[in-house]
Amino acid sequence: MYENVEMRQVFSNELGKIMERDERVVCIDADLARAQGTLGLRQQFPDRAFDVGVAEQNMASVAAGLAAYGFIPFIGSFTPFATRRICDQVAISITYAKRNVKIVGLDPGISAELNGGTHMSMEDIGVMRSIPGMVIFEPVDCMQLVKAMPEIVRYDGPIYIRLFRKAVPAIFHEDYQFDLFKADLIKAGTDVSIFASGIMVSQAVSACEILRGKGINAELINIHTIKPIDRKAVIESARKTGAVVTCENHNIIGGLNSAVCEILAEDFPVHVKAVGVKDHFGEVAKIDYLLAKYKMTPGDIVDAAVECINRKTRGQSGFCSSSEPSSNH
């Protein structure tokens, strides 16, 4: 249904519908409305859709002020400028003050493509995740985004929406049941748990196919909400398979891998392999090139899964023997 539709188009359509029925909702841009697809909302809502100019920090605190006045602002910029650039404003004006502001970050991680290293946020989840009270949501496809938008508005508190702007392969159909705080089981399996988010989910879907060919039955879970992460889903799956691979379009420090490891280390230690950006900055290139260069392809996920399973079956455990230290980082 949403094949070949851009995520930003879906986002602005849904936001427009919500603004129509809920007069508390406002849309604030910082000179990236054209990139985000929200420019058209200004005609429809001349009072409630506006631009603060290239001034992200101001945008964040202006939004907090509007929230203190009973509004529900959506603010947006590219991921680095919607997180690290405005980190203190998000921390104090928005979260510390418990203001209900929704923050949209566009072009996460390597998806900034030709804008290059300065625009590639490898740390935005890490920045936002360490701020108390922040919810982090990364939609995997248009259907999930459509189902999520009303929930995001209904939730009374700040949410960071990590938004890929172009078209993505559909993962979910019309009958999909969305829960903001529950992870999605994409494929049940028994041998290894793959936790993935964002654009890495479709990479992981392909990896599961390859693994099937090798006689490996992988379980794939989409972690759309990285904070608060669905603890139960992570532990139950790890308990079932005993081997875990995380896949994220983000530094493996501070993002999904860290979130999963924090839980498992405490409640159910198993081997975990991280697929993602290995603690370096980005650079100009198309997504496919960078996926290959940074070892984030389906083949890399397969390798990680196989290694994890091998360790499990050899009975080597990082916590009992140190013969083969994990070299994730």
């Binding site: 841009d29 000179d31 990236l32 409305a33 054209r34 990139a35 420019l39 631009d51 603060v52 100019g53 290239v54 001034a55 920090q57 101001n58 680095p80 400028f81 650039r85 030709l114 804008n115 290059g116 290293g117 300065t118 625009h119 650079e283 100009v284 290139a285 198309k286 090139y289 260069k293």
Partner: protein, 274 residues
Amino acid sequence: MKENEIAFLVDKSKHIRRLTIDSIGKLGVGHVGGCLSIVEALVVLYYKEMNINPQKPDMAGRDRFVMSKGHAGPALYAVLADKGYFEACLLDTLNRPETTLPSHCDMIRTKGIDMTAGSLGQGFSCAVGMAKGSKIKGDNSRIYTVVGDGESQEGQIWEAAMFAAQQKLNNLIGFTDYNKFQLDGGISEIVGLEPLDMKWKAFGWDVIVVQDGHDVKEIAEAIGKARQSEAKPTMIILNTIKGKGVSFAEAAGVTNHNMPVTEEQRIQALKELA
């Protein structure tokens, strides 16, 4: 300024435009508008004003340039290639995988780039830091920097402005590329800057308004005046045209910020600039 010097700079500007649109055109997309609006200022700086040596890009005490609106990298790369900082054929690698010429200026990757930029507002503060550094060292170098008019909406610009004035950084010469457009629309309809000259004055800077920011003579005279300043940094406000000199880009208006360029458009532009 002598007529032949003016003619040289005018001609050079045309050549830099040619190299710029050629490299962006071969890639097929880029920040066309903001590259073309700043060409004359770059040409006057690099071919007339700055104390630099392409053979010694790290020369101590050299003048520095910071492209704070870092997305205009391609125009600066054209200048650096033409000056001999690196081979001109590298321009064809613009924004391709493993390039040394990424869309936004990068001092680690590119010879001749004095400061990394791309996150708007930061480069200007970096230029202020350099000017302060030069004062501490007493090496008599000058620091030049370009900010966008949209970029001037960042609070950081004005924090840096106050500090530079406080420190009496008369070795700092800024340019505002006042092309009247940002990404979402016209500056005056998004967040207006007027009266921009008065703002800079009120922040403790000398201000020179260049009526035609594509007139090399006017730009050179403004820089000459700025160099006389005894105790203040100077902001030179350049009234420019976004997409200047390439008809399809000028016609695209607000959408020329980051636009696709077809092969036909590239060839057409090269013809216009022949």
